[in-house]
């Protein structure tokens, strides 16, 4: 469970002060699939980064699984991120000179698993995204959709409670985008809470809940639960 109350984030440069988030409040329940939409520059990425503790904030409170994030030091935050959060990015962000196996291995290394356990998890994760035959391939040898699936495998290998996706389909054509979306839905059904930033309203509609951010604030949200129920029916 994730709860933000009156979060404030200001970026200061020599010339300007940007209020990326203001009075931002949000609660996400266990198992939800939340789609975040909003115009460019409205603060969506900032929100995800704060959620993933990659970015600090200037005011308000943020509780992650009942823990107040504000009081944690870098090591504790990194640990928490490593154990509970998986990240997926628009540009995949695979490490170019590591093969698929070693890419998926990255979060597990910081977790301190034994090599046997890591191997097991890597193979499972790549299997889950349908790429278990390509352990030794480099990212550059894959298509965009495949790379994003590797990134998803990497995010999932440590079995995080939350998956944060920043426009995961933004660089993919619509067919690949739908495949990735399908994969995310499966993952969500198995219990992982997902927060996904997207521009694609069609994909957003498939989530349980839509949050619209304008100018650093949640402007409104539509509960799409009924739509989903219809789809499932």
């Amino acid at each position: 469970m994730l709860q933000m109350n009156n979060i404030k984030k200001v970026f200061r440069t020599d010339l300007v002060e940007t209020h990326a988030l203001r009075d931002f409040s949000l609660q996400v329940e266990e198992g939800e699939f939340v789609a975040v939409t909003g115009p460019s520059g409205s603060g969506k990425t900032t929100f995800l980064n704060i959620t993933g503790m990659l970015e600090t904030f200037d005011g308000g409170t943020y509780m992650l699984d009942g823990q107040d994030v504000k009081g944690l030091n870098d090591k504790q935050r990194s640990r928490l991120r490593n154990e509970k959060i998986g990240f997926i990015f628009q540009s995949f962000n695979l490490i170019p000179d590591l093969n698929l196996f070693d890419n998926v291995d990255v979060p597990l290394r910081y977790r301190g698993f034994s090599s046997k356990e890591r191997k097991q998890r890597i193979e499972n994760a790549l299997e889950r995204v349908g790429l278990s035959a390509r352990l030794k391939h480099l990212p550059s040898q894959l298509s965009g959709g495949q790379q994003q699936r590797v990134a998803i495998a990497r995010a999932l290998a440590g079995e995080p409670r939350f998956l944060l996706a920043d426009e995961p389909t933004g660089n993919l054509d619509s067919l690949m985008a739908r495949q990735v979306m399908q994969l995310l839905e499966e993952i969500n059904q198995q219990g992982t809470t997902i927060i996904m930033v997207t521009h694609d309203s069609e994909l957003a509609r498939r989530a349980h809940r839509n949050i619209h951010i304008v100018d650093g604030q949640v402007s409104d949200y539509q509960d799409l639960q009924p739509v989903l129920e219809v789809a499932e029916a």
Partner: protein, 438 residues
């Protein structure tokens, strides 16, 4: 985790081979210069006979007249002793071993007529000299101690001259013609090349050791000349060799071996008694008149074996290393910042700042190791160059294990120091900046 970091470092080397090569070269150059200078300095200052350097004492006597002193020595004592003092000192029964010593020289006349005579420095000493300074023999040994009082024309040869005169055969019992006098060979010593001629710091500190050793007792008999320093302070008329022996000229050296502090104390007391006695006889008129014992290490220190110039050179070498390292810092920053996006990903996946920091330090350590190895190789080249330039230094230009380990440690240590700032910088950067795509 360390193995993981090593693997990542290797990948990063492969990704930026040129940049890495430049850094290895910078560190290698710095290390090679530092190690070349340090090697010479270290071997100069190294205890040449650690197992007994605190039992061998060089004896000095303040024999000057009123208002006289040695302006170059730290305590005003003369470096050498007079012949009469050398004779008197050798009468003390307290030391286990003792030797008078003088650098002299000969014209060596080979027996076969096809080789021509040559000049060779020699050392006139007592029989104890060899055991005191642990001189190794191949054939025979020192002459009998009775020769120290009753002169005999015997000689101990160095390996090199024995090779030359006798083709390396056992020459004990054979005869050598020195200055047209025949000497009987009693021993041949092995190649004995202490880096420092600590047993005679009045003459050259470095270089080849003597190849001819003869009894000191031959001095008055054959009137052996001094081939070393002579110092005098008194106006004396010296016409004959006998005049020189009776004079206040200082041209001999005296060493004793004293096993324990008690023995040293006893000998020191004996020395003071001797000084008193000489005062009665009208010598030692200076108010500081006395005797001084300095062990090998003190004696080397006293003679500035490692000169200030050398120390300055070491300082300069380390400064050069610092310049190389500053360059390395710049290159490291470039290398690390290029990797910032990857660091961003690692941070997002749960790496802490500490883990990123250590990963980069391992990276730098590896570069340091490579730089150190290169530095050692280049350092050998530097030492070889010194050897070509200064023949006297050839005992001072090899790296022992201590130096090799030291070189690697300095290389890794200094590159890690150079890497601290870049590693700190990269681990502190905000990962979100490198993850964002607008």
């Amino acid at each position: 985790m360390f193995k993981y970091y090593l693997m990542l470092s290797w990948l990063s080397v492969k990704r930026t081979p040129m940049l890495t090569a430049l850094m290895v070269l910078a560190i290698g150059l710095g290390i090679s210069v530092t190690m070349t200078v340090l090697t010479v300095n270290y071997l100069m200052g190294k205890d040449p006979i650690p197992e007994k350097s605190h039992q061998l004492f060089h004896v000095q006597l303040y024999t000057y007249g009123k208002d006289r002193s040695n302006p170059r020595s730290a305590d005003g004592y003369p470096y050498q002793v007079t012949y009469q003092d050398a004779m008197n000192l050798s009468r003390s029964e307290i030391p286990n071993r003792k030797t008078r010593s003088l650098q002299t020289g000969y014209s060596v006349i080979p027996s076969s007529s096809d080789s021509s005579p040559f000049m060779e420095t020699a050392r006139a000493i007592d029989s104890d000299f060899f055991a005191m300074f642990k001189v190794p023999f191949i054939y025979g040994g020192a002459w009998e101690s009775s020769v120290d009082t009753k002169a005999k024309q015997v000689v101990v040869l160095g390996k090199e001259i024995n090779d030359r005169l006798f083709k390396g055969e056992n020459s004990v019992g054979k005869q050598v013609n020195l200055n047209s006098n025949l000497y009987t060979v009693v021993g041949v010593i092995d190649d004995w090349q202490p880096a420092i001629h600590y047993y005679d710091l009045n003459n050259n500190h470095f270089g080849d050791t003597q190849q001819i050793f003869v009894p000191f007792s031959l001095l008055p008999v054959l009137e052996l000349p001094s081939w070393g320093n002579n110092n005098g302070w008194k106006t004396e008329t010296i016409n004959t060799y006998q005049d020189k022996l009776n004079s206040e000229q200082m041209w001999n050296q005296f060493w004793v071996e004293l096993e324990s502090p008690q023995q040293k104390e006893k000998f020191q007391a004996w020395l003071e008694g001797y000084v008193e006695q000489q005062k009665q006889l009208g010598r030692f008129e200076h108010e500081n008149a006395g005797g001084s014992l300095k062990d090998v290490v003190e004696w080397m220190d006293y003679n500035n074996v490692v000169s200030d110039d050398n120390t300055i050179l070491v300082g300069l070498a380390f400064m050069f290393l610092a310049v190389c390292l500053i360059n390395t810092i710049g290159l490291l920053l470039a290398k690390f910042l290029r990797r910032a996006p990857e660091v961003g990903v690692r941070r997002a996946l749960g790496a802490s700042q500490g883990e990123i920091f250590v990963q980069h330090l391992v990276d730098v350590g590896l570069i340091g190791l490579a730089g150190g190895t290169l530095g050692l190789l280049l350092g050998q080249l530097g030492l070889w160059g010194i050897k070509q330039l200064y023949a006297n230094y050839h005992q001072l230009v090899y790296m022992d294990m201590t130096l090799v380990v030291l070189a690697i440690l300095i290389a890794i240590g200094s590159s890690v120091v150079a890497g601290l700032y870049p590693a700190w910088k990269i681990c502190r950067t905000n990962p979100s900046i490198y993850l964002k795509i607008q």
